[in-house]
Amino acid sequence: MKLSFTRRGLLAGSTAALVTPSILRAQPAEIAIGSLTPNTGGGGPFGPNITASHKRVVDAVNASGGVLDQQIRLFQENSETNPETAVRAADKLINVNQVLGIIGTWSSSVTLGIMPKCQSANVIQMCTSSSADIPVADKKGLVFNFQPLSPIWGRAIANLAKGRGIEKYAMMALNNDFTRSMMDGFIEVVGKDALVQEPFYYNAGQSSYRSEVTQLISQNPEAVFIPSYVADFTAVYKEIFRQGYEGTVITTSLSTGNQFKDAVGAAADGVIHGFPVPAINSPAYKEYLGEAGLEDTGSVQHPFGTAGRDQMSTLLLAIEKAGSTDRAAIAKAVWDVTTGEGKETVYNVADGLAALRAGKEINYSGASGSTEFDEEGMVLGRDFQLSEIKDGKDVVLERLEF
């Protein structure tokens, strides 16, 4: 008796779930693609740009007839930058919407968290994540990372900073994988002897950052390096300013976007920040600014929105190239349309589709960079740019070309 009741309880649960309509599956003549972006939580400041980019590319392609004569149906979900939520959202995208790819994941824990599900369902993943575990966990060659791994960021920024003659550093990093391994990369280049004290971590969402900042500047170092995101960096920087530190503050451009500059005002001047950037005068980046309705300010805008455009463009071109919706074939075709010499370079999906249909080989060069992939699906070296905030604007100091 008792057991039957339990089963009924279970049944009640699953029938309730059954009520969710089954017509949500993409119609046969449609290609379903999932977008899983961090619209709230840690990635909140960046996710909406990625979402918008995905939608813009899809809308443009659909308006001109779609891919393989099929319309693209985009299903957008919010990962909340939380793997617990994201894995269920991925479940819905994979099993209900039957998407062939999930693109736009940002935090490594989300990308890795949904990977077992994606791998077993043969779903392509495109992300901007940092963890070195990603290529290891991807056993089927279905994952493409549109962002250099974070130790590379750390090394590049360190090289640029060293080039400016800075010798003594103190550093603290936000306590997550991305920022922690960025700090490790930085230390690799400047060397342990360049540190005036042990580097340490802080958590996001603290009620104050006073003691951390006091500790950070206690030896009055020449420069401080703080790998971080915009929400915590803004609070940390306010405290650095209020505690009267006058050395150089170095961070990533992720932390110093318009939100930071608006929130901090004139005090933002002098902050130095580095970021992987599109090649100089990249036509794709200029096009992106137009599509997103932005002015060309010379500084990096929408760091992940550009990657969002490239993810969706690459995926659609690969589908066209593969000539079918077979996932393994599409994944292989991603290399065909992005990587390799002697092909026609295209900067947007429309030109790419036209060239493919004309029987040409193409190499898509994106708004976030040249988007060439190594055999593990990780994006290859990208230019880095170091900028300084002057009068509330980013001024390019130097560039590191790969």
């Binding site: 008792k2 057991l3 009741f5 339990t6 089963r7 309880g9 279970l10 009640a12 649960g13 699953s14 309730a16 779930a17 059954l18 009520v19 969710t20 309509p21 089954s22 949500l24 977008s35 619209n39 709230t40 909140g44 996710g47 909406p48 979402t51 918008a52 299903f75 957008q76 979900e77 919010n78 909340e80 930058t81 939380n82 793997p83 617990e84 894995v87 269920r88 959202a89 479940d91 819905k92 994979i94 099993n95 209900v96 919407n97 490594s108 824990s109 890795l112 968290g113 077992p116 599900k117 077993s120 369902a121 963890s131 575990d133 966990a137 306590n175 997550n176 994988d177 922690r180 958590n203």
Partner: protein, 300 residues
């Protein structure tokens, strides 16, 4: 679609075990535990680390995770000796957060923010890949039944009467010669035993866990399951856990039809609706969907 229902059923199973365990602690015994997410994490990491780092077979790692949950829970229960229930709420919330901080910061052992990848899955070699999700649903369902069975037995036993007496008035229960502290520690430990179980089952299901999975938000959903379902009533709890998960995930589908709201606004709206679910349920049915039935003495 059926694949989706299978995995939702599995998630509902995790929620049901957690909610039944919390009901044992709070619904029946009146012991507040806001550290649900912490004990969930404890079970997940215990089993995950045992299998990945020490190569312990899953069949041993899952029971071990339950025992770890039980031991830590027993220690935390000692706090109830001196704490009022609302203060115990804050202290247990703290315990949950500290467990998460340890997992986050002791990355030499736990992999910290990188997250822990777990290959091992129970009975993996005996079930084909395409049938495995369905198998796992039944695997979890068996444990839900087991948990339900144990909880019902405790509720109906003479011990259950003592526990309810402690819930209503621990002083009276003490005066009647019941060892209040021992009962509390026992029942809290049994509850965290099952929370550890749920964590272990979750870890081997998703095969990838990180500290961000176990934020206090999870504890909140389990509390809502218990309150919405009807504290004290195990069947109500099953309904409550199902209702919260269906609401949580069902609201996702609105986004597929409504184009006006972007993903960010949509998720804000979903959380608002979850909050309203609790408040509206309590306004209409103050004791939950299936309230606890008052016990009457029925001689055989």
């Amino acid at each position: 679609m059926s694949a989706y229902l299978i995995s939702m059923g599995t998630y509902i199973g995790f929620f049901m075990i957690l909610a039944l365990a919390l009901n044992l602690q709070w619904g029946i015994t009146g012991m507040v535990n806001f550290g649900v997410a912490g004990f969930y994490a404890l079970g997940a990491y215990a089993s995950g680390l045992l299998t990945t780092k020490l190569g312990v077979p899953v069949g041993l790692a899952i029971p071990a995770a339950c025992l770890v949950g039980m031991l830590v829970g027993g220690c935390v229960a000692l706090l109830s000796m001196r704490l009022r229930e609302d203060f115990l709420a804050i202290v247990t919330l703290g315990v949950g957060e500290v467990i998460r901080l340890i997992v986050l910061n002791e990355d030499r052992i736990t992999e910290g923010p990188r997250g822990l990848r777990i290959e091992a899955q129970p009975f993996r070699d005996f079930v084909s890949a395409e049938n495995y999700p369905l198998f796992y649903l039944f695997f979890v369902a068996v444990f839900v039944c087991l948990t339900f069975f144990v909880c019902e037995r405790i509720r109906k036993s003479p011990m259950g009467r003592t526990l309810r007496a402690i819930r209503e008035d621990d002083v009276v229960a003490g005066v009647l010669g019941k060892n209040v502290l021992r009962h509390r520690i026992q029942i809290f430990a049994v509850g965290t035993f099952f929370m550890g179980l749920a964590g272990a089952l979750y870890a081997h299901y998703t095969q990838n866990i990180s500290p961000e999975v176990f934020l206090p938000m999870v504890a909140m959903f389990i509390w809502m399951s218990v309150i919405v379902g009807g504290a004290g009533n195990n069947r109500g709890i099953l309904i409550g856990a199902g209702a919260v998960m269906v609401f949580l995930e069902g609201t996702r589908f609105i986004g597929d039809f409504v184009d006006i709201l972007d993903a960010e606004k949509m998720s804000a709206l979903r959380i608002i609706m979850i909050g309203l679910l609790l408040i509206v349920t309590l306004r209409i049915r103050p004791r939950g969907l299936l309230p606890e039935t008052k016990f009457q003495f029925k001689p055989n």
